[in-house]
């Protein structure tokens, strides 16, 4: 009662909430519950044994480690790309802007095969690294390359609208108040961008954890070295060991959930910390007007 009278001019809260719940249940909750139900036929000790085998542990390290590195790379370079696309006008900007979405649209297997060909020691790019003694394709480094590729748009696309909201005048104001360039970035721009950066990072990170299609072509898939967890799951499916596969998937789900929760908490903390002052100011400003 109070909810409809207090805000929202438009009716239809009940309808849209019902729709949301049904939609999420059909697509997310029921399949996930099925996953957990299937692995429930195992005891916790069994699941523990599956999840702590040397190959499973190695694959967790590879999957989460490579995903984390890839998300960090995307966080850094994605910020630069987004900044350039928002702040500067140059010839071909629209084209580059469209290019950013390519990893969304390209079938992951195509991306994987292309990257493997380019970054193999005989490939156009891999050749140069091979001369320096660095092998990329068929090593964990190759996994990072593939995961960076698929994660890039998440960071850029979350940052762009936020950067657009920050007027260049803010920087000018900071400069007139005597802030150095570094201070302007660190104290003025970065706090405003940080929550969005974290969101982009989280999206890129979680996308990378589940990625299979592009990675397997460039990973090399050597046990204990370059085997990702989704490959181990497929390997169990190949043995018709459905329960084992779901157990591994559930463990991955729990780890991902905990990590995402932690990142969300960090985000909540960050936006609270940085917003507390501006919000008061805004209120004061609103009151004055």
């Amino acid at each position: 009662m109070s909810r409809s009278s207090s805000h929202s001019v438009l009716p239809g809260f009940g309808l849209s909430l019902g729709y949301t719940l049904v939609y999420l249940s059909l697509l997310v909750l029921i399949p996930l519950a099925g996953l957990l139900a299937k692995s429930a036929s195992l005891t916790l000790a069994d699941i523990w044994a599956i999840a702590t085998g040397p190959r499973a542990l190695a694959s967790f390290r590879v999957t989460f480690g490579a995903s984390f590195i890839a998300a960090c790379l995307n966080g850094f370079f994605g910020l630069i790309v987004a900044w350039v696309l928002v702040r500067y006008d140059f010839w071909g900007k629209r084209f580059i802007d469209a290019l950013v979405d390519l990893p969304f649209a390209l079938p992951t297997a195509v991306a994987g095969i292309t990257l493997a060909t380019l970054y193999a020691e005989t490939g156009v790019i891999g050749e140069w690294f091979a001369k320096a003694g660095i092998k990329i394709a068929y090593t964990p480094l190759g996994i990072v390359v593939a995961l960076t590729f698929i994660g890039l748009p998440f960071v850029v696309r979350t940052l762009q609208p936020v950067l657009e909201d920050i007027e260049p005048e803010v920087e000018e104001a900071a400069a007139t108040l005597g802030a150095s360039r570094w201070q302007t970035f660190r104290r003025v721009l970065f706090p405003a961008v940080f929550p969005a950066l974290l969101t982009g990072f989280t999206l890129a990170f979680s996308r990378a954890i589940g990625e299979y299609g592009s990675v397997i072509f460039i990973a090399g898939n050597m046990p204990l070295i370059s085997e990702i967890t989704p490959l181990l799951i497929i390997s169990k499916l190949e043995q018709y060991d459905f329960v084992g596969a779901t157990a591994l998937a559930s463990v991955m789900l729990v780890i991902s959930f905990v990590m995402l929760l932690a990142i969300n908490l960090l985000q909540w903390w960050a936006s609270n910390r940085h917003r507390s002052v501006p919000v008061k100011d805004a209120a004061a400003l609103g009151g004055a007007q």
Binding site: G53, P54, R55, I113, A116, T117, A120, E121, T122, G123, Y138, I216, F217, A219, G220, N221, M222, P223, L224, S226, L231, I234, S235, K236, L237, E238, Q239, Y240, D241, G244
Partner: protein, 334 residues
Amino acid sequence: MNTRRPLRFATLLATLLLAAGAQADTVLLNASYDVARDLYKDYNPAFQKAWQAKTGEKIEVKQSHGGSSKQVRAVADGLEADVVTMNQATDVDFLADKGLVAKDYTKKFPNNASPYTSTMVFIVRKGNPKGIKDWSDLVKSGVQVIVPHPKNTGNGRYTYLAAWGYALKQPGGSDKSAQEFVSKLLKNAPLFGTGGRDATTTFMQRRLGDVLVTFESEAELIAKEFGRGDFEVIYPSVSILTEFPVALVEKVVDKKGTRKQAHAYLEYLWSKEGQEIIAENYLRPRDPEVLKKHAAQFPAIKTFTVDETFGGWSKAFKAHFVDGGSFDQIYSVK
């Protein structure tokens, strides 16, 4: 816009009518492994013609291709395939365990229900610069071997068993020496391909490795794709006979009432014409006459079967490819 509508409607109607007119009396679905696409593209029209000539009935055969264990899972989950044509007994065995396929499916057709065979051979670079002649050359240091994942792919499993069988057949060969041999061979692999085709691409296009182990039939496809002048096929002293079992999906044919047609569809694979199409697709026909006719294409090679050397696929699978099997053991000591 509005004036175009009747026209558009008429087109739609015509399309529907045409589609209905072309509707066959019976539709069969063949769930098959990935690379069988070319074979059945040639075989299906031949069967349709032969069946129509014999009975007057029009049959449409639809194909579904994919990784073999994915296909089998789909059939188990309710994909209404009348027949399955696979590249490994384990996949059909799974359906037999589920009661979808007869337990004695290998007895329902001649030759272990496998209308054709193939074997694992080596593909090397032109001129064979590393002098690779037999399995023992693959474990030498400095030789890079390209194979698909030995645990997860059919092609890789056959390679693994072929190498194992070779080592077992050497003087003083035992399971222990075979495991050491295979382990040395796998150490020479810089990567595991995700499937047969991926391994081929890695070897031929990215030019990684000195030798690719793959099906004999794949060599011809490589020649088609990359030209004949770029590689050589080496037949080792002994290799594994790969069988490709076919079976009726009992539950589906009973439900759809297509038992007669589905059975004839599989049986026709053993006919002269079927065997000829098989040979043209570089798979070794069972019919001795057809095989003789294509002898130039299929050099004689000593082979062993999974049944002889490993006591059947299910035993081989349990010993080598399940979690904790011999493949996993190779990678647990490190």
